[in-house]
Amino acid sequence: MATNSLHSLHRHLTNLLHHSDSTATAIPLFSSTSFPKPTAATSSLSLSTTTAFSSITSTTPSTSQPAAPSTSLDLLRRHLEARDYRQADDETRRLLIALAGEPAVARGYVFFSEVQFIPTPDIRAVDELWKEHSEGRFGYSVQKKIWKKKAKMDFTNFFIKVGWMKKLQDSEVEQYNYRAFPGEFIWELNEDTPEGHLPLTNALRGTQLLNSVLNHPAFEGDADGDESDDDLVEQGRKRIGGGDEESGNKVFKTDYSF
C-alpha cells in the first residue's frame, strides 16, 4: 500500500512540476491581493518539456531520467549583468534548489535542513554576483547583516526592512501583510529600493529556509562586517562553472514556492 501511494504521489508531484507552470506562477511568494501577472519571460519555459527529473528513490518507476540540472552560474551572471533582476531572482531560486540536491529538485523546493548540503563556495558565489551587480545592495550576505543588526534576528522586522511586507492601510493597528508576488516587488535597483530586497526567499513555508540560508557557514561573520573572501569565490566559480544552461533552464518552472 505504502509503495503504491509513493508511486502515485510521486507521479502527481512530477506532474505538478511539469504541467502546472501557470498555477505555480500564480502562487504568490508573499501572497496577497491579485495583481496582473507581468508578461515575464518565464512563459518561454516550455510546457511540453520532457521529464527531466531524477527519481526520489530507486523504487520510483523510471521514465527517462536525464542528468541533474545545471548548477552553472552563467545564466545568473548574464541576467544580473543585464540588470534583469526578475530573471536573476528566478534563476537564483532554481540554483538554490539544484545546489541543495536531488531530493530538493524532485520536490521543487528546499527543505530547511538541506541548506547545509549547499557548498559554501557555491552559495557564496551566488551572493557575490548579486552584490557585484547591485552596488552591494542585494544578496544574502547583505540580508544577513540587516537581519542580524537592524532586525535583531526577527523575521517580521526583517521582512519590513527589506520591503517584503507592506503596511495595511485599513488596519486599526499597525499591521503588515506579505507582498504579492511578483507584482508588488521591486525589480529595479532604484534609490528607494530597500537594501536587501533581492533575492527573494519565500515565506509560503515559513522562515526556516531563509533562516538556514542566512546562517549558512558561507555568511558567517558577514554581520560583523567581514570582507568577503575573493579567492573562495573564484574557486567556487571555477568549480561550478560550465554545464548546460539550456537544460537547466528547461527543467525548472518558475516555482516560487520554496
Binding site: 509513493l6 506532474n15 491579485s34 527543505f111 535542513s113
Partner: protein, 1380 residues
C-alpha cells in the same frame, strides 16, 4: 498558459476604488497621535474594518475562471463548481489547464469555481446563477452551511434537468439530492430502500457518514465493475468520481473531467475519451515532505526518520521532544501543503521530532490512537499533539461525536491543540477584521474542537486570494510550534525542575483586593495547592506554615497603600531590559508614553510584585491601569496594556522562565486586552502578553462564557472549581419574628386572637420594610377573616421566598470539597427540578401528588398569597430538605465528610424499607409518596452527591502540569446541569449553533408572557411597545439560549433548525398564533456574548429586520411602527432603521460604568449614561456581517427612547444583582428615562428562572430580596467573615454594587443603606472586626457609605454621617501607620 492565466486574473477594477470609498465606521482603538482633535467625540474618525460589500470575504469567482482560447472548433465543456475547500482550486485549475493545452484534446474546457462563502454576495450569486445557465457539469463539495446550501440548491435545481451531470460530494442532504449522472440520481435520498441510499440515510449518525462513504468508495467499484446494466454503470461512475475527487491531485482531477465529459456531454458522444483509473492514496497514514513514501506504520516511519541525513544529532537523539501533527489528506493530495511544511520545518528547527498523520475521512480518532499510542505499552509516543485541520477530531464540518473524540484523547493523554488555517477569509481580510476569524469558522473550528478538549485556536495559515492556496503566517507558526513544544516539555521535565508562576488578581486596584476571584478564597487555595505540590515533589522552598503568613509575605505590609511599592517587590526591571524583553513595548507608547510610566513603576524601573518560593513564583497581575481615569473610561474603546502589565509577563516568561503560568481564579485582565475577538494576530495584545508560556487557569465552573474568552484569547487550559456550597438564606431578626407570628396565627387564628396577631404581623412587616413588597392594610383597620388570611398568606409567601433563597456561604478553597451536609441545599435544589428527558420527577412534585395536588398549582397559589398553599409549599420544602438530609446523613462518616457513596448507596438501595428517605417520610403527611419515583430520583441524587464531593480540582491541575490531557466538561449551573460536576474539568461552552433549543424556547415563552402580564398590570393594561434587554453569554450557555429565545418570542418569530440541529434560520409566527402585538426590542449584548455568539447576533438582526418588513398594521407590529418612524426621522431605509442588536465595539467589553462606580470616579449620572451610550452603541448588521461592530448611536438612542421596560435575566442561584458589578453595568433604566420624550421612568424587571418556580420581579423587588438575603443577612456576612481578609472585601463589594444600582436605576430603597449602616457601622464589635481583618476594604466600605449619602441615594441622620467621617480618618491613620 501564461496568457490563460493573465487574461483571467485581472482584478475587477472596482476593487481598489471600493477600498477607498466605502464605509469607515470603526474608529481605531488606539488614540491616533496624528489626530489630536480625535478626543472630541464628534471628531472621532471611524474606520471600517471590512471593505467592499461588507461581507466576510471580498474574493470572487473571477480569479478561478478559466476560459479556453477562442479559435478552436472543438466542443466546449463548461464546468461550474462550489467548494468549501479552497485547496481544490489550484489542483482543478491545473487539471483543466493541462487539458486545454493538450494537443490531442477532444474538447475545450471552461471552468469557474465558487467558494461557498462567496455566494453570500448577491452579485456573486447572480453570476453563479448565470454561469449555471450554460454549464454542462456542476460539482459541489462540503456544503454544510445551511443558508448557503439552500442558495446552491435553488440555483442548481433550476438547471439540473438540462445539465449533463451534477456531482455533489459530502454535503447537506438538500444538496446531495441534486446528484445526477445519467440514470443515477440521488433525488430519492433518504427515502429509497436500496442499500446504496441507506448509506446516505445513515448520515444522521454524523461522522460515520463520510467514513462509510469512504468505505463504499473502496469496496463498491470492485463489485460494480461486473454489473452490466447501465444503471450500475452510472453508479459506478459516481463512485469513481468520488475516488477521483478524494484523490485530489491534478492528475486525478484531469481524468475525472475526461471521464465525466466523455460519458455524459452529448457533444462528445461518439468520441472515445480515454481516461486512467483514479490513483489511490492511503486513506490514513503518516506523511513527511522528505519521506520517500507515506507510512502506514509508525515504527517504519521512525526508522526512516532515524536514517535522515539532513537532521542533526539533537533531533535524532532519543531525548528530542516529539510532537504529533494531525493533517487533512485533501491538502496533501491537492499539493496545497505549504502551511503544513512550514509547521514541520519550524518544529524540527526547534529540535522537535514530528509525527504528521493524515486522514481522508472526517474521523481522526482512529488514526490518533493508531499512530500516536504505542500499541504495546499503551503509552503516548508523542509529548503533545497539534491538529492543523481546525476541525473537531470526529466529524469535521458535518456531525461531531465529542464523546468518541474525548475517549481517544483521554487514552492518548497529552496536551491537544487545534490550530486554525483561514478558510473563509483571505489573509488580508483576516488581518483587517476586528472580529478576527470568520464567525462560521469560529463555530466550526473553534467552538466545536473545544468540546473535545482542544486548546489554543491559533491561526497559523493564511489563504491567498488568487490561488486559494494556504500559506504560512510565519510568526503565528512560530508561536504555535513553540507553544506546542512547551506543553510537551511539561511531560518531559521532572517535577523538581518545573517552574510555576502563580498569578493572582487585584480588582479594583486596591491593597484590600489582592487575590480577588469569584467565590474563591485565593490565598488559602494557593496554600493548599502548594502544600500538595510540595508533597508531590515540586520545589516550593520556603513556603510559610499558614495561608495567613503567605498573605503577609506577599502583601509585605498589608497596611501600606497599593500604589506605593509596598507590596513585596520580587523584581525591578530596568527600562532598557524591559524594552529588550518586550518586543511590542513601543506599541504601548501611543497610550502610555515612554516606559516606565507611573504604573507598577518606581520612576526608574518597572516593578514586579510578588514573591518567589523555590521554583514557584506568586505574582500580582497589574490591572488595566485606567480604572481611575474617567476620560479613558469614557472615550477609549479599549486601551492597550500599560508598560507595567507587559513587564509582568516579560518577567514571567523571560526572567523567571516559567514552564507554566497558573492564573488563579475568575478572572484577570489578560484575556480582556484589546485584539481580535477570536483568532489573534501578531498585533493582538493577549497573544503577545502570554507569549509562549503554557497557561493554566482556575475558573469558576459557573462561568463558562468568560472561561471561554480566557481559552480563546489567552490560550488557557481552564480548570473548573466549584462555587462554595449554597445554603438557604434562612430568616433573621424581624423576619424570623414574622415567621413565628405567622405560625402562631395559623394555630390560633380561629380562637379570636386572630385579628390581634394579624395587626402585630402587619406592624412587624412594616418594620421589616415589607410594605413595598406586600400591600399591607392599616393596622387598626377592621378586616374580614378571609382578608386576614390573604394578608398573612402574602407576608408568609414573601418571607418564605427570602428563607429559601440559595446563597453561597463563604468562599471555596481548592482541594476542599464540601462536606456532606454542606451539599444538602444544593441537592435539594437539584431534586426540585423535573427532568422529563431523564424520566425523573422532582421531589416537590412527588410530594404534592401524595396530597392530590400538582406542584405548578401550589406555586401559583403560593405566589398569590393563598395561605394554605403557602403553608403546603413550606411543608413540601421542609420535607424535601428533611428527606435529602436523611439520605445524605447515611452516606457520611463520623467527621461529616461524604465517604464511599457508591457502596453505601447500593446497600441502601437494596433494602426498600431501610431507604432513609422512606424512613423520614413515614413520619410526615407525605408517607404515601410514590416509592418507585423516589427511588429513581434518589439514585440520581446519589450520583450527583458523588460528583459534588469528588475532588478533581487539584488532580486536574497536577495532570495539566505534568503535560497530560485534562478532561473537558461543560461549565454552567450544577443545579440545572449536574454534568458540570465534578469540577476540575477543562471548561467549555457549547456549540453556538445549537441554541436556542426547543426546551429553551418553551421556557422563554413562559417568561415573556409573564413579563408582559406584569407590565400590563403596571402600565394601565397596555402592552409594552419596546423592551430593552440584555443578553449574557453565561446565561445563554446555562439555559441553552433561553434569553435569546425571549427576544425571538417578543418580536414573534421562531427558530428553525436544519438537518443537523443547527439553528441558522428564523420564521415569523403569525399574529393569530401570537395573539398580541409584536413587541419591539433593544438588545444589548455583553462583550462576551458578542464574542461567543456572533452567529446568534446575526440571527437576531435578521429576525428583527424581517419583522420590520412584514406587511402588518403598525399597531400590531411595534418593531415596524418604530422602524418606520426612525427611518423617516433619520432618513435611512427601514432595514437600517430596524437596527436593534447592539454591543461593544470588537475587542472591548462592558460599559465601564462598573469601573467608574468601583473607583468612585464619576461626577454625575449623566456621565455614566454617556459612557453607556458611547461604549454600547455598536451594532451588528446582518447585511454587512464582515464589517464587524459598527457604531450606530443615533438609532440606538432612538430605539432606547421608545422603551417602556428594561429587562434582565438572572442566570444562576448563586449570582444575584449585587454579587457582581456587571448587572448594573449594563442596566439602562435611568438612561432610558433621560431619552424618553415624556421623561417617564421605564419599568425595570428581572427574570429569575433559577428555581423551579420561575418569577418575573421588578428590579426594586429583586434588589430588596438581594439585600435581605445577602448584605443584611447574618448568615451570609458571618459566612464571609469566616474567610477573613477576603470576606471583608466581599461585604464591601455588595455595598458598592448596591450604589451602582442606585446610580443606574435609582431602584434602591433608603432603608437598605440605613440597615447596612446599622449592621456594619453602628455595631461596634462588628465594625472593629471588619477594620482589623482588612483595613483597606473597610476604608472603602466607609467611603462607599459616605458616597451613597453624598450622591443623594441615602438620607440619614447627621450623627451617622459624622460617625462615618470620623471613622474614615481613623482608618486612614491606621492604614498610614499613624498612631494617635
Amino acid at each position: 498558459m501564461a496568457s490563460l492565466l493573465s487574461s483571467s486574473f485581472i482584478t475587477p477594477p472596482a476593487k481598489s476604488d471600493q477600498l477607498s470609498q466605502k464605509h469607515y465606521f470603526l474608529h481605531s482603538f488606539l488614540h491616533k497621535k496624528t489626530n489630536p482633535s480625535s478626543t472630541s467625540k464628534s471628531a472621532l474618525k471611524f474606520k471600517c474594518s471590512a471593505i467592499g460589500n461588507g461581507l466576510f470575504t471580498q474574493t470572487t469567482q473571477e480569479v478561478r475562471r478559466i476560459v479556453p482560447e477562442e479559435n478552436s472548433n472543438l466542443p466546449t465543456v463548461k464546468i461550474v463548481y462550489v467548494v468549501l475547500e479552497a485547496q481544490y482550486q489550484s489542483s482543478l485549475s491545473a487539471a483543466v489547464q493541462s487539458l486545454n493545452r493538450d494537443p490531442s484534446k477532444f474538447a475545450s474546457f471552461e471552468v469557474v469555481g465558487y467558494l461557498v462563502e462567496e455566494l453570500r454576495d448577491p452579485d456573486n450569486y447572480e453570476a453563479f446563477c448565470k454561469d449555471l445557465e450554460d454549464a454542462n457539469i456542476f460539482i459541489g463539495s462540503l456544503i454544510f452551511v445551511e443558508e448557503l446550501a439552500l442558495k446552491v440548491k435553488a440555483a442548481v435545481e433550476k438547471e439540473r434537468e438540462r445539465m449533463d451531470a451534477v456531482l455533489v460530494f459530502p454535503s447537506m442532504p438538500e444538496v446531495m439530492r441534486l446528484n445526477k449522472l445519467g440514470s443515477f440520481s440521488m433525488s430519492q435520498l433518504g427515502q429509497s430502500k436500496s442499500p446504496f441510499f441507506q448509506l446516505f440515510k445513515r448520515k444522521k449518525q454524523g461522522a460515520g457518514f463520510a467514513d462509510s462513504m469512504l468505505k463504499l468508495v473502496r469496496t463498491l467499484p470492485k463489485v460494480l465493475k461486473y454489473l452490466p446494466s447501465d444503471k450500475a454503470q452510472d453508479a459506478r461512475l459516481y463512485i469513481l468520481s468520488l475516488q477521483f475527487w478524494l484523490g485530489g491531485s491534478p492528475d486525478n482531477l484531469q481524468n475525472f473531467v475526461k471521464m465525466i465529459s466523455g460519458s455524459y456531454v452529448p457533444a462528445l458522444k461518439g468520441t472515445k475519451v480515454e481516461y486512467s483509473d483514479p490513483v489511490l492514496f492511503l486513506d490514513t497514514g503518516i506523511w513527511h515532505p522528505l519521506a520517500p513514501c507515506m507510512y502506514d506504520d509508525v515504527k517504519e516511519y521512525l526508522n526512516w526518520y532515524d536514517t535522515r541525513r539532513d537532521t542533526n544529532e539533537k533531533l535524532k537523539s532519543g531525548n528530542a521532544p516529539i510532537v504529533g501533527l494531525v493533517l487533512q489528506r485533501s491538502h496533501i493530495v491537492t499539493g496545497d501543503e505549504g502551511h503544513y511544511v512550514a509547521v514541520i520545518m519550524e518544529m524540527e528547527a526547534r529540535g522537535a521530532k514530528v509525527i504528521p498523520i493524515f486522514a481522508g475521512g472526517l474521523d481522526f480518532s482512529g488514526p490518533v490512537e493508531k499512530y500516536f499510542v504505542d500499541p504495546f505499552t499503551k503509552k503516548p509516543m508523542v509529548n503533545s499533539v497539534v491538529s492543523l485541520t481546525g476541525f473537531a477530531l470526529v466529524g469535521g464540518p458535518a456531525r461531531q461525536d465529542h464523546p468518541r473524540a474525548v475517549e481517544a484523547l483521554m487514552k492518548l493523554d497529552v496536551p491537544y491543540m487545534v490550530a486554525v488555517p483561514l478558510v473563509f477569509q483571505t489573509t488580508e481580510e483576516w488581518l483587517n477584521s476586528t472580529l478576527g476569524l470568520h464567525p462560521i469558522q469560529v463555530a466550526l473550528q473553534v467552538a466545536l474542537p473545544e468540546l473535545d478538549g482542544g486548546m489554543e485556536p491559533i491561526v497559523f495559515a493564511g489563504r491567498d486570494p488568487r490561488t486559494g492556496k494556504s500559506h504560512a503566517l510565519h510568526k503565528r507558526v512560530e508561536q504555535l510550534c513553540i507553544r506546542a513544544i512547551r506543553w510537551g516539555e511539561l511531560k518531559r521535565k521532572s517535577k523538581a525542575e518545573k517552574k510555576l508562576a502563580i498569578t493572582v488578581f487585584s480588582f479594583p486596584p486596591d491593597k484590600g483586593n489582592v487575590g480577588t476571584a469569584a467565590y474563591l478564597n485565593v490565598f488559602s487555595s494557593i496554600f493548599s495547592v502548594l502544600s500538595d505540590l510540595k508533597k508531590d515533589g515540586y520545589n516550593v522552598e520556603g513556603l510559610p506554615e499558614t495561608s495567613e503568613a503567605l498573605i503577609e509575605e506577599i502583601l509585605h505590609d498589608k497596611e501600606a497603600q497599593f500604589s506605593s511599592p509596598n507590596l513585596n517587590v520580587v523584581y525591578k526591571m530596568g527600562v532598557r531590559e524591559y524594552q529588550e524583553l518586550t518586543p511590542y513595548a513601543t506599541a504601548l507608547e501611543e497610550n502610555w508614553g515612554k516606559p516606565p510610566g507611573n504604573l507598577n513603576s518606581d520612576g526608574e524601573n518597572l516593578l514586579v510584585y510578588g514573591k518567589q518560593y523555590g521554583n514557584v513564583f506568586i505574582g500580582v497581575q497589574p490591572t488595566f491601569g485606567y480604572e481611575g481615569d474617567p476620560m479613558r473610561l469614557l472615550f477609549s474603546k479599549s486601551a492597550s496594556p500599560h508598560h507595567g502589565f507587559a513587564a509582568y509577563y516579560s518577567f514571567v516568561e523571560k526572567v523567571f522562565k516559567a514552564d507554566a503560568v497558573l492564573h488563579f481564579g475568575t478572572h484577570g485582565s489578560l484575556e480582556f486586552m484589546p485584539g481580535k475577538q477570536v483568532g489573534m494576530s501578531d498585533a493582538c495584545f493577549p497573544d503577545s502578553l502570554i507569549g509562549n508560556i503554557p497557561n493554566i487557569y482556575y475558573y469558576a465552573a459557573n462561568n463558562p462564557s468568560e472561561a471561554t474568552i480566557a481559552k480563546r484569547r489567552s490560550y488557557a487550559n481552564t480548570i473548573s472549581y466549584l462555587t462554595p456550597p449554597a445554603e438557604n438564606a434562612g430568616l433573621y431578626k424581624g423576619l424570623k419574628q414574622l415567621g413565628e407570628l405567622i405560625s402562631s396565627y395559623q394555630s390560633l387564628k380561629d380562637t379570636g386572637r386572630g385579628p390581634q396577631i394579624v395587626s402585630t404581623i402587619i406592624s412587624t412587616a412594616r418594620q421589616c420594610n415589607l410594605d413595598k413588597d406586600v400591600d399591607l392594610p392599616d393596622e387598626a383597620a377592621e378586616i374580614s377573616a378571609n382578608e386576614r388570611d390573604l394578608v398573612v398568606g402574602k407576608v408568609y409567601s414573601k418571607i418564605m421566598e427570602i428563607e429559601s433563597r440559595l446563597l453561597p456561604c463563604g468562599l471555596h478553597v481548592v482541594g476542599e470539597p464540601p462536606s456532606a451536609m454542606e451539599a444538602v441545599a444544593t441537592l435539594v435544589n437539584i431534586a426540585a427540578l423535573d427532568r422529563p428527558e431523564e424520566g425523573i420527577t422532582s421531589l416537590p412534585s412527588i410530594l404534592a401528588q401524595t396530597v392530590g395536588r400538582e406542584m405548578e398549582d401550589v406555586y401559583r397559589g403560593s405566589d398569590k398569597g393563598i395561605l394554605k398553599d403557602v403553608e403546603l409549599l413550606r411543608q413540601i420544602t421542609d420535607t424535601s430538605r428533611g428527606a435529602v438530609s436523611a439520605f445524605v446523613e447515611r452516606t457520611t462518616n463520623s467527621k461529616g465528610q461524604v465517604v464511599d457513596v457508591s457502596n453505601k448507596l447500593s446497600s441502601i438501595l437494596g433494602f426498600g424499607i431501610n431507604e432513609p428517605w422512606i424512613q423520614y417520610l413515614s413520619n410526615t403527611k407525605f408517607y404515601r409518596a410514590d416509592r418507585e419515583k423516589l427511588r429513581i430520583l434518589f439514585q440520581f441524587l446519589g450520583d450527583c452527591l458523588k460528583l459534588v464531593v469528588a475532588d478533581n480540582e487539584l488532580g486536574s491541575l497536577k495532570q495539566a502540569l505534568e503535560g497530560k490531557f485534562v478532561e473537558p466538561g461543560p461549565g454552567g449551573d450544577p443545579i440545572r446541569n449536574p454534568k458540570v460536576l465534578p469540577t476540575g474539568k477543562n471548561i467549555h461552552a457549547l456549540d453556538p449553533q445549537s441554541i436556542p433549543t426547543e426546551a429553551a424556547m418553551q421556557s422563554a415563552k413562559v417568561v415573556v408572557e409573564r413579563l408582559i402580564e406584569r407590565q400590563k398590570i403596571d402600565n394601565g393594561g397596555n402592552y409594552p411597545e419596546t423592551v430593552a434587554l440584555v443578553l449574557w453569554g453565561t446565561d445563554n450557555i446555562k439555559t441553552y439560549g433561553e434569553s435569546l429565545g425571549q427576544v425571538l418570542w417578543m418580536i414573534g418569530v421562531r427558530p428553525v433548525a436544519d438537518t443537523f440541529g443547527r439553528v441558522n434560520r428564523v420564521e415569523p409566527v403569525s399574529l393569530e398564533e401570537l395573539g398580541r402585538p409584536r413587541i419591539d426590542v433593544v438588545v444589548n449584548c455583553s462583550g462576551v456574548f458578542r464574542d461567543l455568539f456572533i452567529n446568534q447576533m446575526n440571527l437576531l438582526d435578521r429576525a428583527v429586520k424581517m419583522v420590520a418588513e412584514l406587511d402588518e398594521p403598525v399597531e400590531m407590529n411595534y418593531v415596524r411602527k418604530h422602524a418606520l418612524e426612525q427611518s423617516k426621522t433619520l432618513g435611512i431605509d427601514i432595514r437600517e432603521a430596524a437596527t436593534r442588536i447592539f454591543s461593544n465595539a470588537s475587542g472591548s467589553y462592558s460599559s465601564n460604568i462598573n469601573l467608574a462606580v468601583e473607583n468612585s470616579t464619576w461626577n454625575d449620572e449623566k456621565q455614566l449614561q454617556d459612557m453607556y451610550l458611547s461604549r454600547k452603541s455598536f451594532a451588528f448588521d446582518s447585511d454587512a456581517p464582515g464589517a464587524g461592530m459598527m457604531e450606530k448611536k443615533k438609532v440606538f438612542e432612538m430605539a432606547l427612547s421608545t422603551a417602556d421596560a428594561t429587562f434582565q435575566n438572572l442566570d444562576s442561584s448563586e449570582i444575584s444583582l449585587t454579587d457582581v458589578s456587571h448587572y448594573f453595568d449594563s442596566d439602562p433604566t435611568n438612561l432610558v428615562q433621560s431619552l424618553r420624550k415624556d421623561g417617564k421612568k421605564p419599568s425595570a424587571y428581572i427574570a429569575d428562572t433559577t428555581t423551579a418556580n420561575a418569577q418575573v420581579r421588578t428590579l426594586s423587588e429583586t434588589v430588596r430580596l438581594d439585600a435581605r438575603t445577602k448584605l443584611l443577612n447574618p448568615k451570609w456576612y458571618e459566612g464571609m467573615m469566616s474567610s477573613g481578609y477576603e470576606g471583608v472585601r466581599e461585604i464591601e463589594k455588595r455595598l458598592t454594587n448596591t450604589v451602582g444600582w442606585s446610580a443606574t436605576s435609582g431602584q434602591v430603597d433608603n432603608w437598605v443603606y440605613e440597615e447596612a449602616n446599622t449592621t456594619f457601622i453602628q455595631d461596634e464589635e462588628m465594625m472593629n472586626r471588619l477594620m482589623n481583618m482588612n483595613p483597606n476594604s473597610f476604608r472603602k466600605l466607609v467611603q462607599t457609605f459616605l458616597e451613597a449619602n453624598g450622591r443623594g441615594y441615602w438620607e440619614t441622620t447627621e450623627e451617622n454621617i459624622e460617625k462615618l467621617k470620623q471613622l474614615y480618618s481613623e482608618v486612614e491613620d491606621k492604614i498610614e501607620g499613624v498612631d494617635r
